[in-house]
């Protein structure tokens, strides 16, 4: 037993607290609004030991790097190694993005966070008629292995950790395969590669949804194929990053964000176990991608609660033993949806404290949004400013001096427990629905997220949720002085290259490659095993997608 306060003490504090509460009233003299977190949890005017009375230090907090990992996944956290500063970069043709990568690395970024354009994410080639207006937008365009070669030209793959924001399995299965194939061509063994690919089936079926995507089961299978492949061949690569960030951007609440990523990870783990892998072989490499939203303390509590829940899930459901399987590791990106197009420099202040909450919550890496994000793709200035925010947090604020600096705070501990409780309830509910894949097929997840998104918007419009510059402190005569980013010409560059490649490559090799993929689908084999080889023939992403959709069919998500 390591209760924090003995019963007599708690009793006395509770008695005093009650008296205080009575003489204070609700605590909203000036306005009678309710005090709730962004996710709707009611907040007390003051928190005291009374609110953490049930807590047992060793059981509920423990030491950093030890179960239940609430205080952090490493014993010394940022004292030994600061969080990785990742800045998203990607736009236009690969040669342009390659320049931006090099700029960020030379300015002190410690990893690459590559994003891909919409056609690539969807599995289309740049020359596809559907792609013509979106080529090079939102990320870099990748069609063949040649593009991947150009993208990482001159960047030491064995040293730099790369995060491939492939989003959906349909994109990941090809793009990650290209990354691996490119590494091999450069003589870098796969077991030397460090990085992460996003590869989340909910991205395809619930988030970045379009008509005619792969059905949930198929998308989920592709995602699991990559996990299995990496477990066997690229043990230092994180083959999946559960995209809580995007769930949250789409509208869900903090507890839903955590519950959905964990439910997703449970489903993947069950599948891996079914495929005969040991939990401690793959679980250490499951990683999470979370959203740094605007409720400062709720976010901190969210990260802490996620660690506690994950520990219990892996321990109890999967009997994991490796501490790395039990520790919830995550990357944070500050919330894009919380940024405003109005008075864009205000976004620096927002992102600053969003990132601070991630650091206080024990994130492993942090991306800070560019302040012009709500207006355009980040310019060079805004990307550097965002990187500097990260550096200032690490080097000037000295919040990295001690581990879990908020540990013990009555409010933070109470909120952590409250979020844990809500997350567990949602997990139970999804168990009842037959797991997350089923919950997706029936549209349950879509409904939850759309409800929350609608409520969020309504809260802004009724003023219940103030947003400076939007529903309060507006400027009518605002001029937007910031310089906007222009996407460089992409479609023509890609078209030219693709034409040349198609002329030069061997048609019979391409045929063979596509047949192999098709056969693998029929035999229910691991597709990544095949595609890593296939891409060497310079088969395009679009061609691979065509085979997969042909084999698995398409699905229209019940979005609205």
């Amino acid at each position: 037993m390591s209760k924090l306060f003995n019963e007599d003490v708690v009793e006395e504090i509770t008695r005093k607290g009650d008296r205080w509460q009575q003489s204070t009233g609700h605590g909203g003299k000036a306005n009678d609004r309710e005090f709730r977190t962004l996710s709707g949890i009611s907040v007390e005017p003051v928190y005291t030991p009374e609110h953490t009375a049930d807590m047992d230090y060793l059981r509920d907090l423990g030491f950093p790097g030890e179960p239940p990992f609430v205080r952090g996944v490493h014993p010394t956290m940022y004292r030994e190694r600061a969080w990785t500063m990742r800045q998203l970069a990607g736009y236009g043709p690969p040669e342009e993005t390659n320049k931006r990568y090099k700029l960020l690395l030379s300015e002190g970024a410690t990893g690459i966070n590559g994003i891909f354009d919409y056609p690539t994410l969807r599995g289309y080639d740049s020359t596809d008629p559907l792609a013509r207006a979106d080529c090079g937008r939102g990320g870099v365009a990748i069609d063949t292995l040649e593009d991947m070669r150009i993208l990482f030209d001159g960047i030491p793959l064995e040293k730099v950790s790369s995060s491939l924001v492939t989003c959906q399995p349909i994109c990941n299965i090809t793009v990650q395969s290209m990354y691996f194939a490119n590494a091999r061509n450069r003589g870098v063994p796969l077991d030397k590669l460090t990085g992460t690919s996003q590869n989340d089936f909910l991205m395809e079926t619930c988030m970045a949804t379009a008509p005619g995507v792969l059905p949930p089961k198929a998308s989920f299978k592709l995602s699991c194929d990559a996990i299995e492949y990496c477990t066997k061949h690229a043990p230092r690569w994180n083959p999946i990053s559960f995209a809580g960030y995007n769930y949250r951007e789409s509208g869900c609440t903090a507890d839903q964000e955590v519950a959905f990523v964990i439910a997703n990870a449970i489903a993947c783990s069950e599948e891996m176990v079914r495929r005969g892998l040991d939990v401690d072989d793959f679980a250490p490499r499951l990683s999470f991608f979370m959203n740094g939203q605007s409720d400062f303390f709720e976010e901190i509590a969210k990260y802490r609660a996620a660690r506690r829940v994950w520990y219990r899930v892996m321990k109890e459901r999967f009997k994991a033993k490796n501490p790395r399987s039990l520790a919830f590791r995550f990357h944070v990106q500050t919330a894009g949806v919380a940024l405003t197009a109005q008075q864009p420099l205000n976004n620096i202040a927002r992102s600053a404290y969003h990132a601070l909450s991630a650091a206080l919550g024990g994130a492993q890496s942090v991306h800070i949004d560019g302040y012009d994000e709500a207006l355009c793709i980040p310019t060079e200035l805004s990307s550097i400013t965002a990187l500097r925010c990260n550096q200032i947090l690490q080097l000037e604020t000295r919040v990295t001096n001690t581990v879990d600096p908020l540990g013990g705070s009555y409010f933070v501990e109470a909120l952590t427990s409250k979020l844990e409780e809500k997350i567990l309830m949602l997990l139970e509910e999804m168990d009842g629905l037959g797991g997350i894949v089923k919950a997706t097929e029936t549209g349950w997840i879509h409904g939850k997220i759309a409800d929350a998104a609608y409520e969020y918007q309504n809260d802004i419009e009724t003023g219940k949720m103030p947003v400076v510059g939007v529903n309060c402190y507006r400027m009518d005569d605002e001029v937007l002085p910031i310089e906007l980013f222009e996407v460089p010409e992409t479609a023509k560059v890609q078209e030219k290259r693709l034409k040349r490649i198609k002329k030069e490559r061997s048609d019979s090799e391409v045929r063979r490659a596509l047949d192999a993929i098709s056969r693998c689908c029929d035999e229910d084999g691991n597709l990544m095993e095949v595609i890593v080889e296939s891409v060497q023939s310079l088969v395009t992403e679009g061609e691979i997608t065509e085979v997969l959709k042909d084999k698995y069919g398409v699905w229209n998500p019940p979005l609205f």
Binding site: A131, A208, A374, Y454
Partner: protein, 128 residues
């Protein structure tokens, strides 16, 4: 009884963000109008659906930056078919400098990030 206003909502091209379009679609439906939610489409398909479904308004959404290419195309295709009574509106991440260009191309109204649902609904229902 007056026929309800019919609106088709589509995300232009390949843009992945559905939050805005779904929230707007709901608000329009809640205001008593009929909504056909298309998801991602290219201009040809959007116009085709709009004609088949006999809608009054086409609501386009994009955050990817493809608005200057695709939104005017929707208007142009409508005009080519001789249709002038379908209102085309656009929402999403739209740099302020582009708004005049879009309006000149026939987009009736542009609702940038941070626009209120109330304003959009009022505009669509024609009471603005």
């Amino acid at each position: 009884m007056k026929k309800a206003i019919r609106v088709v909502i589509a995300r232009l091209g390949m843009d992945a963000h559905w939050r805005g379009s779904v929230v707007v679609a709901r608000a329009i439906r809640d205001a008593g109008m009929e909504v056909i939610y298309l998801g991602n489409q290219m201009p040809e398909a959007i116009v085709e659906t709009a004609i088949q479904e006999d809608v009054n308004v086409i609501g386009l959404s994009t955050l990817s930056g493809n608005h200057l290419e695709l939104a005017p195309e929707v208007v142009r295709l409508l005009r080519e078919k001789g249709i002038r009574d379908i209102l085309v509106i656009l929402g999403g991440t739209i740099p302020p400098d582009d708004i005049p260009k879009l309006k000149a191309a026939g987009i009736a109204e542009v609702f940038g990030t941070g626009s209120s649902l109330e304003k959009i609904v009022r505009f669509v229902s024609g009471s603005d």
